[in-house]
């Protein structure tokens, strides 16, 4: 039925195209031939990807790859940096059976959903344990759904604490190891007039808030979801973390506007010199030390995030990006070759040095050049994943975002907010 309609439509379209005298002469038909294997010459694969920390890196990686593999050409389809826009594009293209992109980069929280809905190809055959054992285990785990590997980690991301080295020194304060300590030091610095705000983080109603909360929750010793899908959010630990979230705003340690901050907004406040502490990803390091963008060049230190006694030490939300293969790709072998290159020592070292991204290849951290390039390569946080092992994670996250934001802005008490979020999440997870 559907096919018949499509054919009819195609006929109509063509008729319309003929009827309209102004139909453009340049009816490029790249679309038609795209993705079909050519009988001779190099194979071309299409790689769709949002940007890395800077725009040119993807093409440079491709150039390196094509030099090593002249039999494969890689065509880059750039996507905007909005994760939602990227997912939109992939869902549309792949659910329609499009053979391109062959390889695409996607968020660390996608694999379960993409696997369950046939948007990602199972990859165990091409990336056996012997290969994945060389990568960060937490990142590989996040790409595994029901025992099968659906994506290959590319680079990872982790939340860190940025602090004003100069201010801590001047007021003789240690780098905070617990959240309570951070709170007190922030208040002290504010009272002495050193900074306007104590601590800034990502408090807008979006995925970033879930990352920040995941860290506080782990630091308090709690979690949202057990690996078997049981909801564990309804706990004193979660209430404690939520209360702290609210206390930050109520006390003025965090600005009221923190509830609208995404990564760039929180970074701006810190880079302007208006805040003593910042929670952000490693990319912030390069920005904070660039005089074009920052007023605190050379005054910033980095540490693992604080925790509470008895909780996870130095928790860091697992972020990062993966490489997926389109199940309809006509060039799976070439795609696999390309992905293998992207996790090779050469490519991993390249994105660490040139992009400041955390490699997923464990051996990259032993490289002297990498270790000395950025301070965070030497930090050892405890990586905590968001509960993205349920295919309904996007919906779970969206419920959690609303509840956390309501708590942050004082629309609901921490205890009530956590209770309601737990109920909703139970429904979402049970709904499969």
């Amino acid at each position: 039925m559907r096919r018949a309609l499509a054919l009819l439509a195609a006929g109509l379209l063509l008729a319309a195209g003929c009827a309209a005298p102004s139909a453009p002469a340049q009816t490029g038909n790249q679309g038609g031939s795209q993705g079909q294997a050519k009988s001779s010459g190099p194979v071309t694969i299409v790689w769709s990807s949002g940007p890395l920390s800077n725009l040119g890196l993807r093409q440079q990686l491709i150039d390196m790859f094509e030099q090593q593999h002249p039999e494969i050409r890689v065509q880059l389809n750039q996507l905007p940096n909005s994760t939602d826009t990227q997912r939109n594009t992939y869902v549309t293209q792949i659910s329609s059976g499009s053979p391109t992109p062959d390889v695409y980069s996607g968020d660390v929280i996608w694999p379960a959903q993409f696997a369950a809905h046939g948007l990602a190809m199972p990859l165990d055959r091409y990336f056996p344990r012997s290969v994945t054992a060389r990568l960060i285990p937490g990142a590989v785990q996040a790409d595994t759904f029901q025992g099968k590997l659906y994506a290959v980690p590319w680079f990872t991301d982790a939340g860190f604490l940025y602090y004003r080295k100069d201010l801590l020194q001047r007021y003789d304060l240690p780098v905070p190891a617990t959240w309570d300590q951070l709170f007190q030091e922030a208040q002290t610095l504010q009272q002495r007039g050193a900074v306007r705000y104590g601590f800034v983080f990502q408090g807008a109603q979006y995925e970033g808030l879930v990352c920040d909360f995941t860290e506080m929750l782990a630091g308090a010793g709690g979690q949202v979801l057990a690996p078997d899908g049981k909801v564990l959010l309804d706990s004193p630990q979660a209430v404690k973390a939520a209360q702290f979230l609210r206390k930050l705003v109520q006390s003025g340690v965090a600005p009221e506007a923190v509830s609208t901050y995404q990564e760039p907004d929180s970074l701006n406040v810190f880079a302007t010199g208006d805040a003593a502490f910042l929670r952000n990803w490693p990319y912030a390091w390069a920005v904070l030390n660039d005089p074009q963008q920052s007023k605190v060049v050379g005054k910033v230190g980095m540490a693992v995030l604080p925790d509470w006694p008895g909780g996870t030490q130095g928790p860091a939300a697992l972020g990062g990006w993966n490489l997926f293969i389109n199940p309809h790709s006509k060039h799976v072998d070439a795609a696999v070759t390309f992905i293998k290159f992207l996790i090779s020592p050469q490519a991993q070292k390249f994105i660490a040095l040139k992009g400041g991204h955390l490699p997923v290849l464990l051996s990259a951290y032993d490289d002297q050049e990498v270790r000395s390039a950025n301070p965070f390569f030497a930090l050892k946080p405890t990586v905590v994943p968001r509960p993205s092992w349920t295919p309904n994670y996007p919906e779970l996250s969206s419920k959690l975002q609303v509840a956390l934001h309501d708590i942050l802005t004082g629309q609901v008490t921490p205890a009530a907010g956590i209770r309601q979020a737990s109920q909703e999440i139970r429904q979402v997870v049970g709904q499969q």
């Binding site: 920390s53 996507l79 293209q93 920052s294």
Partner: protein, 278 residues
């Protein structure tokens, strides 16, 4: 007394207009200023209304970004052709709907309007499938045809309303003189509907020029990309270079503004020639 009142009214009018214009132009002025501001000066309290250290850097970055000129050209080709096609088909369709006693034309008008009431997101998937099946992805028609189809409804409505506003006697006089339908349309109706045509062209062109979703999804290859998608590619992961984005947007706004200036001439010309004939 009356003069005084008239003066007061003019004054009130002027103040009101000034307030509206200020409201409209204020944010534009701010964006313009931000596009000349260095990133490091963009966040400050109190905010800088003028760049403390003016720079062309953002414009350099925007224009030097990969393919900016190409995207500009693609946008121009797609928007101009789509606007022309929309106006042509729209005018042809609006005339019988406005003037001829076609049975069921009310139903047609409502149905046409209904077509424009579907969220474009909701038709994204089936439309993509369609484009893929006929092999039109990454081509100009992949955008021109959808832009035409989705802007035709409002164009037909605008033109039908303006056609109906033309005194019927003029057409009848022409017909009595032995003019065929083509002559009536080309010499009498279209010139007299100048303001309607001008308005519709501007609206359709701007809608095409700023469209993002279809452009992103159907033409994902760099060679076929349009400007709104190109501007969305500025920045890195977690990085939004405001200055560069605003600079790109300022450049992107020049073609439609230029076109409006041209159209205004044309619209005014159409009006006066109509008046002469009338």
């Amino acid at each position: 007394m009356t003069r005084l009142r008239r003066l007061a009214r003019r004054l009130a009018q002027g103040v009101l207009l000034a307030a509206i214009v200020l409201f409209i132009l204020g944010p534009i002025a701010w964006m313009l200023s931000a596009s000349f501001t260095r990133p490091v000066d963009l966040s400050s309290w109190p905010p800088h209304l003028l760049p403390p250290v003016p720079t062309w850097g953002n414009y350099r970055d925007a224009v030097a970004s990969q393919g900016f000129g190409l995207y500009l050209r693609n946008s121009a080709v797609v928007s101009l052709l789509a606007t022309f096609l929309t106006l042509l088909l729209g005018a042809l369709a609006a005339y019988p709907l406005a003037r001829m006693r076609l049975p069921g034309r009310q139903v047609i008008l409502v149905a046409v309007l209904g077509l424009s009431m579907f969220p474009s997101l909701a038709v994204l998937l089936p439309l993509f499938s369609l484009m893929q099946r006929i092999g039109w992805l990454n081509s100009y028609p992949a955008l021109i045809l959808p832009y035409t189809a989705f802007n035709l409804p409002i164009t037909i409505w605008i033109l039908a309303v303006f056609f109906r506003g033309i005194p019927r006697e003029l057409e009848e006089a022409a017909e009595v003189d032995g003019a065929g339908l083509a002559t009536v349309l080309g010499r009498v109706v279209l010139p007299l509907a100048g303001p309607g045509l001008g308005t519709a062209s501007i609206l359709v062109f701007i809608a095409d020029w700023t469209e993002f979703l279809f452009a992103l999804t159907f033409n994902s290859q760099a060679e076929m990309r349009t400007l709104p998608v190109g501007i969305a590619l500025f920045g890195g992961q977690y990085l939004l270079p405001w200055g560069t984005i605003f600079a790109g947007a300022v450049i992107a706004i020049l073609p439609p503004v230029l076109l409006v200036v041209l159209f205004q001439r044309w619209v005014v010309a159409g009006l006066t020639s109509g008046a002469v004939k009338g």
